[in-house]
């Protein structure tokens, strides 16, 4: 299975020059898509300081786009397009001794936070997938890389209802309250990468001559935040499932 995905991805990459020059023979289809992104930004290895995920809200993460596909015959083809989408999440976690730093201008407060963190992430982006496709009955299996350019970036939140031990666990204990003026806000929006890339795999299912539904998995390979940014210690990867529908013409 893994091999096949690699083969598909390689096929997609190799077709790029052909795609660009528009000399590929075979029939061409266009798909107009609407879909819903479902997922989050997750560390690959959850730090022990995160004790529980208390709430997780799906933000309105819609995708609208158009894809063009070429079939070369014998089932194989490639597909690419442009998607306008947003990916976001809103989560509340409980922490115990979670390393964090609040930076504001020239002042900073660094230490270990035990309490609650409300995290909001949202980004609007233009995504271009390049996928190898293989037709199997009414399904078109697709896989390949994607790149996203972020048009707007949000990574902010607040720490509340807990305390920060400054510097180390024996440092001054700063009680952080649970209302405005008593809690600590942070905004690292500028530290979100402008470009993301990742891998996508999924399938389009034809339901009728024109309509169909789709399911995809998008696995980010680049961390959400710039690697030069060290306040949030764990790299967070955007991992999203996308379900949607399309109209083919």
């Amino acid at each position: 299975m893994k091999k096949r995905i690699i083969v598909l991805a390689a096929a997609a990459l190799m077709s790029v020059p052909g795609f660009a020059s528009g000399i590929i023979p075979g029939d061409m289809t266009f798909k107009l898509r609407a879909a819903y992104n479902l997922g989050g930004m997750a560390p690959l290895d959850m730090p022990a300081a995160i004790r529980s995920i208390d709430s997780y809200n799906l933000t309105a993460s819609l995708l609208l786009g158009v894809d063009a596909g070429w079939n070369f015959g014998s089932g194989w083809g490639i597909q690419s397009g442009l998607h306008l989408e947003n990916k976001g999440m809103e989560a509340e976690i409980s922490t115990k001794g979670y390393h964090m730093q609040m930076v504001q201008g020239t002042n900073s407060l660094e230490g270990f936070f035990t309490g609650h963190v409300h995290q909001y992430v949202a980004a609007v982006m233009l995504t271009m997938p390049i996928q190898a496709t293989y037709k199997l009955g009414c399904a078109t299996i697709k896989a390949g890389p994607y790149v996203s350019a972020l048009l707007n970036r949000n990574f902010r939140g607040l720490a509340f209802d807990g305390y920060l031990r400054q510097g180390n666990p024996t440092g001054p204990k700063i009680i952080i309250g649970n209302k405005e003026g008593e809690w600590a806000t942070y905004d690292f929006s500028d530290e979100v990468r402008r470009f993301q890339c990742g891998l996508n795999a999924g399938a389009d299912f034809d339901l009728s001559r024109g309509f169909g539904i789709s399911a995809d998995l998008n696995w980010g390979l680049t961390g959400l935040l710039k690697s030069s940014f060290t306040v949030v210690e764990q790299a967070l990867y955007p991992i999203y499932a996308t379900i949607g529908a399309f109209y083919r013409f």
Binding site: A48, K96, N107, T170, P172, A184, L207, F211, I239, I243
Partner: protein, 401 residues
């Protein structure tokens, strides 16, 4: 095109209902695979949360509420029990502690120790074994009455976290030449956020240009961008008799000033010398300029009954220092006009007379407060306001002719 999109969306709505649950389940499995919640790490904190002596020592205390010390600030390294007389203290005293969960203490909690030769050192170790804190526990006599406060005595304290940051801590010497740590300021809160700060950069410090020798300098400062973030844009210079509770600096700044110390005399008046220059721009707690308002300095004193009817300790802090029903007498300097030459100030205590019996039993506490901005506790004032104070003298009712 608009047509096709709307049809797409209606199909989308149908399948959404059918498969949403399944998808979320798949996603949950996926995320669980990616990242599991780990086992809870063992505690790394190692604080003494409270300390108490057992009933058998009751006769050595003026007041049962002084036998347990419960609100120990996180930056505190000394735990002080005030007894009637250290001279009569037995050579074996058991002090029990509550600690951060899982932490251990050496010598053991509740073990008999000899406090008659000065402080006993205790070491607390965190549950994970990686962190230690040292505390000194001591028993001392009640504060003797001080009548002359010259701000000649101070030491440099190094910030617990910012090792390059040092600030002044004032103390007084009593008649028997022992230091009395009666003074507190908000310096520790400012130190938290600033590295490489020398004492003179702090809102509260000892100046060599006092009226006589060293004097007290208080100045209102910007609390920096981080202070503004918490809605605390300025830090007024302050000095008061009491303790500064650093833990509440962000969540409840009015409660950081744990005012007062028990006294055995009743204050009548306070006088001294001052210089004052208000800062140029007055700002409110949102850091917005308030046109036409000039900053004012503040000097006041409060004397109150420190135990309620049920024998509980009555604490005064910034939230109730003017309003508590337990206040017996108070005084405030009416106005401190701007002046750049040393000028005399005086204030007289008004209110009821104290009960002699309660007074002898340390049932009253007293605080004296100096601030470079009157509204500093509400984060109102002018950056740059500077108050100098020196040669303060307290007169007591008992000493009146």
């Amino acid at each position: 095109m608009a047509f096709s999109v709307s049809i797409n969306l209606s199909i989308f709505a149908d399948i959404k209902y059918l498969t949403m649950k399944k998808l979320i389940a798949i996603l949950a499995i996926l995320l669980a695979f990616v990242s599991c919640i780990k086992d809870e790490p063992r505690n790394s904190e190692c604080d003494i949360l409270s300390a108490e002596v057992d009933e058998s020592l009751a006769e050595h205390f003026h007041n049962a509420s002084q036998m347990k010390i419960s609100d120990i600030a996180s930056n505190e390294r000394r735990i002080v029990f005030v007894v009637r007389s250290t001279a009569s203290l037995p050579a074996a005293v058991k002090v029990s502690f509550t600690l951060t969960e899982g932490a251990t203490i050496v010598p053991e909690s509740g073990s008999a120790q000899d406090f008659t030769h000065g402080p006993v050192k205790y070491t607390v170790t965190s549950e994970d074994g990686k962190w230690h804190r040292e505390y000194e526990v001591l028993f001392k006599d009640p504060s003797l009455v001080l009548d002359k406060l010259g701000f000649e005595h101070f030491e440099e304290e190094t910030s617990q976290i910012q090792s390059t940051t040092r600030y002044h801590v004032f103390y007084e010497m009593d008649d028997s030449d022992s230091p009395r740590n009666i003074w507190a300021s908000g310096n520790a809160g400012v130190a938290m956020m600033n590295s490489e700060w020398t004492p003179e950069k702090f809102p509260t410090y000892a100046t060599s240009e006092g009226y006589k020798g060293y004097g007290l300098c208080l100045n209102t400062q910007s609390a920096g961008s981080l202070g503004a973030l918490f809605g605390k844009p300025i830090a007024a210079g302050n000095l008061f008799i009491g303790r500064f509770i650093l833990d509440k600096v962000m969540s409840n700044p009015l409660e950081t000033t744990d005012f007062g110390t028990p006294v055995i005399k009743e204050p009548a008046s306070v006088s001294g010398w001052y210089k004052y220059a208000p800062g140029p721009v007055f700002t409110n707690k949102d850091n917005k300029v308030v046109e036409g308002r000039t900053d004012e300095a503040n000097i006041y004193g409060v004397f109150w009954r420190n135990t309620d009817e049920e024998g509980n300790e009555v604490k005064l802090d910034g939230s109730n220092v003017f309003t508590s029903p337990y206040i017996i007498r108070k005084a405030q300097v009416e106005s401190l006009p701007a002046t750049d030459s040393w000028t005399r100030f005086e204030m007289t205590f008004d209110g009821e007379r104290a009960d002699a019996g309660i007074l002898a039993g340390l049932g009253y506490s007293f605080t004296l407060v100096f601030s470079s901005s009157k509204g500093g506790d509400a984060f109102e004032g002018a950056v740059g306001s500077t108050l100098y104070v020196d040669e303060v003298e307290i007169k007591y009712m008992e000493d009146q002719p």
